[in-house]
């Protein structure tokens, strides 16, 4: 008989003898993983949606008058001095008129009586992707508003602001729920193992007296923790996947989910969640066995 055979048999005995508390722990781990992964899934999708939205982000500076070539160069220099940009495009009053007419398409005849300079000239500024934090954009827009000849700066402030605060809220929820659920799962596993140890105190004492090594006593408990983490995370993630599929099926069409291109975790994230769960549960059992056996 080798070490691993003995260890697996011992772990099997433990599971058989304490299956009710083991089952409760397994449920707790599954639920913890499910809740954490649920918020994390929302968070990653929000971040993805934010990235996609920021691809289209541009600040429009409406000007009092069409700037001449020299002034365009001056303004370009002023803008680039404040922050680096992907592009700066000057749109004259007549360009603005043509664009608008193009956007109206078949209805462009409504503009026939309008003068060609009724729309203001503007500058379209596309900031660098790396400089698109909410505060940076706000600062940038405030600066652009102070440029000579500037009348108004627009970049969908309200939408960006709301989106930014929503993302921040989700981040806090993910961090808090993650921390609480991680602690809950770890303590539950540690507590179950502790109960098992207390219930089998006589046997463990005897094992020490007949010459069982520390590893012989400790490993079955670590194995239980590992199994709890593995099974709990697989079931939790499976439940989330089923929920995700159900939402995708029942909420298709022009809605929030389509807008955000809701996607499930990539394989690397799934593996990381499973490994994280295994690690935490194993740590939970390790601390219990160390504390109670004093071997």
């Amino acid at each position: 008989m080798n070490f691993w055979f003995a260890v697996f048999r011992q772990a099997g005995r433990n599971l058989r003898q304490t299956w009710t508390s083991q089952f409760m722990t397994f449920l707790t781990v599954s639920l913890s993983v499910l809740i954490f992964a649920f918020f994390y899934l929302i968070y990653t999708n929000m971040i993805g949606a934010g990235d996609r939205l920021s691809d289209d982000l541009r600040l429009i500076v409406y000007l009092e008058d069409d700037p001449g070539p020299e002034m365009q160069e001056q303004l370009r220099r002023k803008i680039n001095n404040f922050d680096k940009t992907e592009s700066i495009q000057f749109i004259s009053k007549s360009d603005a008129y043509e664009r608008f007419a193009e956007q109206l398409g078949e209805d462009s005849d409504v503009l026939t009586d309008m003068p060609r300079d009724f729309l203001p000239a503007s500058i379209e500024v596309v900031p660098l992707k790396s400089l698109r934090g909410y505060n940076q954009i706000k600062l940038f827009s405030e600066y652009l508003a102070t440029l000579p000849g500037s009348e108004k700066v627009q970049y969908g402030q309200e939408w960006v602001e709301r989106f930014y605060y929503f993302t921040r809220l989700i981040t806090i929820v993910v961090l808090l729920s993650g921390t609480l659920l991680i602690l809950t799962a770890t303590f539950m596993v540690a507590y179950t193992i502790r109960l098992t140890i207390m219930g089998r105190h006589e046997e463990l004492e005897l094992l020490k007296l007949v010459g069982a090594t520390n590893n012989y006593i400790r490993t079955p408990f670590l194995l239980e923790g590992t199994l709890q983490g593995l099974m709990g995370s697989i079931i939790g993630l499976s439940a989330l996947y089923i929920l995700f599929q159900w939402i995708s099926l029942h909420f298709t069409g022009p809605g929030l989910i389509n807008l955000f291109h809701f996607t499930f975790f990539p394989p690397m994230v799934i593996v990381s969640i499973i490994l994280g769960s295994i690690g935490l549960c194993t740590i939970g059992s390790f601390t219990s066995i160390q504390k109670f056996l004093k071997i």
Partner: protein, 243 residues
């Protein structure tokens, strides 16, 4: 130049007949607040010896056995088993030493929710013996102690006499080099006592050192072996039985 090999198995180091298996020098054990269980105990037990420890209840016999198997630590003094200070051994070395020491405790220490076979097998499982060898050894021991029909019985359902024999079977199952037995015949009739002593004598003839703590005169008055009497935690006498 001779190659130095570190011995991983402490009890095998000096496991040669005539060598000392147990050595105690001025060992005392005091429990709080100031109860002296043992005072200044000094004696040696040779490898392969059958040694009796006698005395009334509370004389200190069980404490002495507990000190030898490192279940308890002395307040003072030195205890060596097979040439190694047992109180300095830790971790794997202590575990390996304990695998070579079989102990039949006075309170049996049986797992009441396990079968007789499982209780006996436990001492062999920790040494990673093969399952077939374990099954065979369990059957042999149960046959020797006339408990074959109890193979699958839960130890919690057995009488005290039967439990005592199971505890003894577990202590000898792993063929230990040192066997410590605490009151092996306390709950047994004369015929069963003889069977138990036969088993222990066979182990002794096979080379095991045996220390038996008892107050049953019928078992230590036969044969040529040393008997140490404890009174109030002190050695009262240490002599060789010549009958």
């Amino acid at each position: 130049m001779p190659k130095i090999v570190q011995n991983q198995d402490p009890i095998e180091t000096k496991d040669i007949p005539g060598n000392t298996m147990i050595e105690m020098i001025k060992v005392s054990r005091t429990y709080a607040p100031d109860i002296k269980a043992l005072s200044d105990i000094s004696f040696t037990v040779d490898t392969g010896e059958l040694f009796f420890l006698i005395g009334r209840s509370g004389a200190g016999k069980t404490t002495l056995l507990k000190l030898i198997c490192n279940m308890d630590t002395p307040s003072k003094g030195l205890i060596e088993v097979a040439g190694h200070n047992i109180n300095n051994l830790k971790g794997k070395k202590l575990a390996h030493l304990r695998q070579k020491i079989g102990v039949a405790y006075q309170d049996f220490k049986l797992l009441s929710d396990r079968t007789v076979a499982e209780n006996i097998a436990i001492s062999m499982e920790v040494s990673y013996k093969k399952p077939r060898a374990i099954r065979q050894r369990v059957r042999d021991l149960l046959e020797q102690l006339q408990l074959t029909d109890k193979h699958d019985a839960l130890t919690g359902d057995l009488s005290r006499g039967e439990q005592q024999r199971i505890a003894l079977a577990r202590s000898v199952a792993n063929s230990p080099r040192l066997i410590l037995v605490d009151e092996p015949t306390g709950n047994l009739d004369a015929a069963t006592t003889e069977r138990v002593m036969d088993l222990l004598t066979r182990c002794n003839k096979a080379g095991a050192t045996i220390v038996i703590a008892t107050h049953d005169a019928s078992i230590y008055q036969k044969g040529n072996h040393r008997v140490m009497e404890l009174r109030n935690g002190k050695i009262h006498s240490l002599s060789r039985n010549s009958r």
